[in-house]
Subunit: 548 residues, 2 copies
Amino acid sequence: MSKLRIALAQLNTTVGDIEGNQGRIAEAILRAKAWFADLVIVPELALTGYPPEDLLLKPQFIDANERALKRLLPLTQGIVAIVGYVQQQRDGSLYNAAAVLAGGRRLATYHKRCLPNYGVFDEKRYFTPGSEVLLLQVGKIPVGVTICEDLWELQPARDLAKAGAQLIVNLSASPYHAGKLALRQKLFSKRAKENGVCVAFCNLIGGQDELVFDGASLVVDASGSIVGQARQFAEDLLVVDLELASKSLPQRPALPALAKQGILKPVEEIYEALSLGLKDYVRKNGFSSVVLGLSGGVDSALTATIAVDALGSSRVKALVMPSRFSSRETQQDARKLAETLGIESWDVSIESLFVSYLKTLRRFFRSMPANTTEQNIQARIRGNLLMALSNKFGWLVLTTGNKSETATGYTTLYGDMAGGLALIKDVPKTLVYQLARYRNRRRNKPVIPQSILQRAPTAELALGQKDQDTLPPYEMLDRILQAYVEENRSLKQIIQGQRVPVEVAQGVVKMVDRSEYKRRQAPPGIKITPRAFGRDRRMPITNQYQEC
Amino acid sequence: MSKLRIALAQLNTTVGDIEGNQGRIAEAILRAKAWFADLVIVPELALTGYPPEDLLLKPQFIDANERALKRLLPLTQGIVAIVGYVQQQRDGSLYNAAAVLAGGRRLATYHKRCLPNYGVFDEKRYFTPGSEVLLLQVGKIPVGVTICEDLWELQPARDLAKAGAQLIVNLSASPYHAGKLALRQKLFSKRAKENGVCVAFCNLIGGQDELVFDGASLVVDASGSIVGQARQFAEDLLVVDLELASKSLPQRPALPALAKQGILKPVEEIYEALSLGLKDYVRKNGFSSVVLGLSGGVDSALTATIAVDALGSSRVKALVMPSRFSSRETQQDARKLAETLGIESWDVSIESLFVSYLKTLRRFFRSMPANTTEQNIQARIRGNLLMALSNKFGWLVLTTGNKSETATGYTTLYGDMAGGLALIKDVPKTLVYQLARYRNRRRNKPVIPQSILQRAPTAELALGQKDQDTLPPYEMLDRILQAYVEENRSLKQIIQGQRVPVEVAQGVVKMVDRSEYKRRQAPPGIKITPRAFGRDRRMPITNQYQEC
């Protein structure tokens, strides 16, 4: 038995920033060498960022990534580095690949065998699957190479174990959703045990449009025990000594004992995912500040709070935009929140603009009763004001709609849906409350006024309006939505399984089906559930299928 | 030698409308029987509509499609019908399938072997590829079955010819782009000749969100000659007698000589595609009327004209919404066009609303110079007014932006981009002019005023503004965009190949790359080029790749 020292470089790469990514990988290799590691691995497609989508169809993009790989070679004296990149074969086919670099040379290339093409993944659009296993000798230890999905299926690990691997490394870009970490721990533990090998999983971290990669890279020994875990939602270099059967390796300083990595609690974890998703969207797209409308409701309160935590209060701006339907209480709450958060905020009444619109449209509407049209006009005035500030000062507009609203279409296109990022678009309303309460408990320093958490939800677009005039109670609505959207259950199953009234379930399903056209024009939002709207759930707009 | 009579039922199915589609197929089978056809084929996935996208992940949707298939059985006495549907195997895997129905029984099922997963296609997300050929005896003639992509690749036709097929039928859902018909004619002619078989290609027709299926089903004999072609952009039943080596078949009335099907000229064809795309989006989504803003420019003029041709003048409404920057000439042109088209239109000045916004925002903007912010405000007021009418009266808002604007981001999010369908989103500006001129030549009855075609393009959002202050001349811009977007050329290739100034090409590429966030929130538009924005070109928003 002797030790193999491995380093997992959990990096925050940026899609398209090939030079920048190369720099991050280079630094990781040097740090791993400083730790006397034998082997360093980085995430899947670390050189291009993940997912590069149709950038992969540009030959010049592929060339640039190959050139960047070559520039890493001189750094690999005295270490083995396994680097994720795109390899193009002579016939033009592309592979999601891992290059093994050592002693200044490229020793081998592995091609990902299992290409995910479900959920948010489209890898078969771009890549040819690999057909061979890759087993390396690192020191005297046989190490098998895999990429992400390869370890979620059975065959690749089996093939490698059969070929004699004692350690299987896995370069990953595994996106976050609530509960994913537990899934991974269970899976990798199982893979290790059933094949009698150690597993080292190196994950990406950072936000990319709707996806957040949560890191939490893992090292599991052959008994299935977790022997090392990297941080969640932050860059990290996890260095672990593994005891493996082999000839002895050179002496080097012992590693300090690994600090037991705490795991975030479920609600805390979601909060951090949203925070990182926002932070990276802002940073990687080069925005200085964000702006949002504060209504005095819980959705905008939570959005503003996360924004302050992610960006700092000086980079968050707010408008309070009361109308004739806004109560004194909600306005006060909005102002109080801005004060507690220490953000710049302005009061801008929309009344005169609303009157202007009604006057302009009077000849069309005449004596027709007011309906959602007049409500939408108010929401769109607010959208326009926020966009005007965005255009003038370069601020990113955050929208504040939650998943329950996005699902049912209880939202105004070009109104409260107007903005660059819909931060809590994948967060059901009941979870919005949980997140707000969690944040208020943190360090015993409540930021969101209690009255916001206690008031019955209202859009305040008509007199005495309450969300529950239109929607079923949120607790029931969210159960139906989870079953219909996330678990893909049929109406029949929902009625039986969730014990909800038939007409309520029917009504919700209809609202979801009919709002596809709105969602198609929604800004991106951060995925935190197993099935978000967007890439994850691709429904036609023109669609006459009805279960009801 | 004896005759085989085949009927190609070129149907307009609707995604999700399984019962309705079943009815259309049933009617086609009965009509084919009335023609004494031996064999009738329908388009790919005729029962579900194409593409059904994530509806395919609903088990109850698959069940409903299987039940509908069974209901067709009783109609197949005395005829062989080949029907596109989704088949689920016991292990849960799905196949893009063709059922062979005859004599009231299901005789066989074919599974599509080649699954397209590029461009607008995502078939590997849903389906398992088939692995077997299917050869039927119809009368005494061996007939091979294929589905769409199968015939675009080499192997399936070869396998069938080797097995003895004399006729290969192809159930298709082949979406339109300019030039596709010629591609298909060439391809099927080649496939027939190289394998010494007849080919019968039955295409879908109709609009589905961004796609238009153009029909033009084809029958090609073994020498590669086209012996029958169905209509473009309309439902049709093409019945053809083929002379094939076999035992003799029963006597029946001779078919009338096939009328030689004329083929639409290139610009005419694109006009018809846009018209059908709009008509079907409106019909299949249940709208009564459409509404749009007329600016006195060529984009809105063309959009209104197509709408009137597709829907009739009584179903098209228009607003003329002048601002302080609108010239008398453009307003007059807009009104004249509405009059010529015979559509209801109203003049609504946006001046007082514009003043209201400027007043509300004065404390923020102070003495800052006016820029695109003030321009966007005007566009968004117009968007809001159109949406208010849409909400009040249930009209679909048509946006009028062309592909050159969509590509460069020369357009206002939530402003002129606000609406349900962006009819000419995939039409480059130079083609907009061609389409307008073509329409004016039709029946020698010009509808679009000459002055609209002659005036230098302007957004009229600032004093004396011209498009060419911001964009290169459209003729040059469209060449660059075709190379960059449709042909996926690198900046280097564009500079060399198109002989355009370096800074111009760089500027255009930058504009395209930076506008991805806008396009992500754009309404759907009708695809008419080989590479449209949307499903066809999937770029990350967060993207630091730069060729410049």
